[in-house]
Structure formats: C-alpha cells, structure tokens
C-alpha cells in the first residue's frame, strides 16, 4: 500500500468514528445545539407534512438530521422495495414504509448498529416493518438488483469514495429503478485542512 493510500485509509477510519459519534449524539441528545438544524424544526423547514411528523414516533422526529426531503420526488408506490441509505433514527424509512404499504418493503443501511436498532424500533412502533443492516455505503450489504428505489438524506457527502457509493447504489437497484437523494454538494474544492479534519468532514 502506498503512503497516500495508507493515509487515506487512516483518515477514513477516523471519519467513520466521527460520523458515528456525531449522529449518535444527535440521537442521544436531540435537544443539544448543533451547527445544523435537526429534529422537527429541520423536517418542517424541508417541507415534511405535519401529519407525518405528528404520526411518527417522537424519537424518530427529534433525531432527524437530514438536509432536505427525498420524499418530495420519490413517487413511492404501494408494493415497492425501498433502500434508505444511511437510515439514521428512521424517520425517512417510516415515511417510506407508510407510502409503500404492507405489500412493499423498506430496508435500511447504517454505519452505526445502535442507530439500526433504534430505527427498527421506531418503525415497529408505527406497526410497519423495516430490516436494517449495519454496513457501509461503499459496500452496501444487499444483493444486486434487489430494490426499486434508493432514498438517502445527507449521507453520500460523508464518503471519501463517492464514485464507489454511486456504483453501489446502481448495483442494488433493479433495472428501471430510481433514486431520490438529498445531499450536500460543494461548488469549489474544499481546502485540504477541511478534508483532513474528520470533525469538519463529518459535518
């Protein structure tokens, strides 16, 4: 392994730890002050229907840390299979489960096994079902062509290997499947000091 590859790998390990720490903190301490909007305030800002937020478990709403509303254009239909990539505390998975109904299927993938358990509990509390797998978006733990739709909210930007993530999304989608993703993009190359700082990158 080259020095550059080794340095990249070390940075990715640190980044993974920081992502787990930061989003666990949002889930554990939803009243905390973060530099991003979160919880119901953020969900309302992005146009989530108030009736969804009233109906979803309070813990799922309070821990919401998305950057937009992937449901706005997902056009989910009853019976579809949906992957929520980076499912967090489960609010987007819950809404997806309501929209695809009992004949549909929602699968979550999250880096943090504790968040997976939390999301599954939140979904179960609504009477819906969701399987959540601990895993990395660069190696999605799902078979090829196994879902109709991939939704994701503020997650892909956290990866150093976005091309790999997009290839994985493409792999797990069935032919004719679609994505509805909200995420953060940057028009300019971020400075090396930001790239090398896991705290800033995870933000």
């Amino acid at each position: 392994m080259t020095d550059a590859a080794s340095a990249q790998e070390s940075l990715e390990v640190m980044l993974k730890d920081e992502i787990v720490r930061m989003y666990q903190e949002v889930a554990d301490n939803p009243k905390g002050a973060f530099h991003f909007f979160h919880g119901r305030e953020a969900a309302e800002l992005f146009g989530y229907a108030p009736e969804w937020l009233d109906r979803a478990p309070a813990g799922a709403v309070a821990s919401f840390a998305g950057v937009g509303n992937p449901h706005e254009r997902s056009n989910l239909q009853p019976g579809e299979a949906v992957l929520d990539l980076g499912s967090g505390a489960g609010l987007d998975a819950i809404i997806a489960a309501w929209r695809v109904g009992p004949t549909g299927r929602v699968v979550g993938v999250d880096l943090n096994p504790a968040m997976c358990r939390k999301a599954q509990a939140h979904v179960a509390a609504t009477g819906a079902k969701m399987a959540c797998h601990e895993g990395r978006m660069e190696d999605i733990p799902l078979p090829d062509a196994s879902v109709d739709v991939v939704i994701s909210n503020g997650v892909v930007n956290l990866s150093f290997r976005k091309r790999r993530v997009v290839e994985e999304i493409c792999r797990v989608l069935r032919p004719g499947g679609r994505i509805s993703i909200t995420d953060i993009v940057s028009a300019k190359q971020l400075s090396q000091s930001i790239v090398n700082d896991p705290k800033l990158w995870a933000s």
């Binding site: 499947g177 509805s180 028009a187």
Partner: protein, 48 residues
C-alpha cells in the same frame, strides 16, 4: 455527484437546490457559502 450519476450510467439525472437549507450557525453558513456549499435534491433512473 450529478456527474458521477451520469458517468455510472444513470439516465434522466435531475437536480434542484433545496431552497430552505442553511446551517444554524452563522459562521458555518458564511464559510459554506464561500465554498458554494448547498443542499440539492437529485433524482435519476437506472436504465432498463
């Protein structure tokens, strides 16, 4: 991201800015604006 989706073979790639996205802290928001950071919604299809 838009380019990556097209290069990976997705079709009908569309993106739109999330109009109400902003950081809570003014200093973070200012820095984000300096880098052209924004939230976007992307949709695309995997060809049949």
């Amino acid at each position: 991201m838009f380019r990556l989706l097209e290069e990976t073979g997705f079709s009908r790639v569309r993106s739109a800015v999330v109009p109400r996205f902003r950081f809570r802290k003014e200093s973070t928001q200012n820095e984000a604006e300096a880098y052209g950071v924004k939230a976007v919604m992307m949709t695309a299809l995997k060809p049949v």
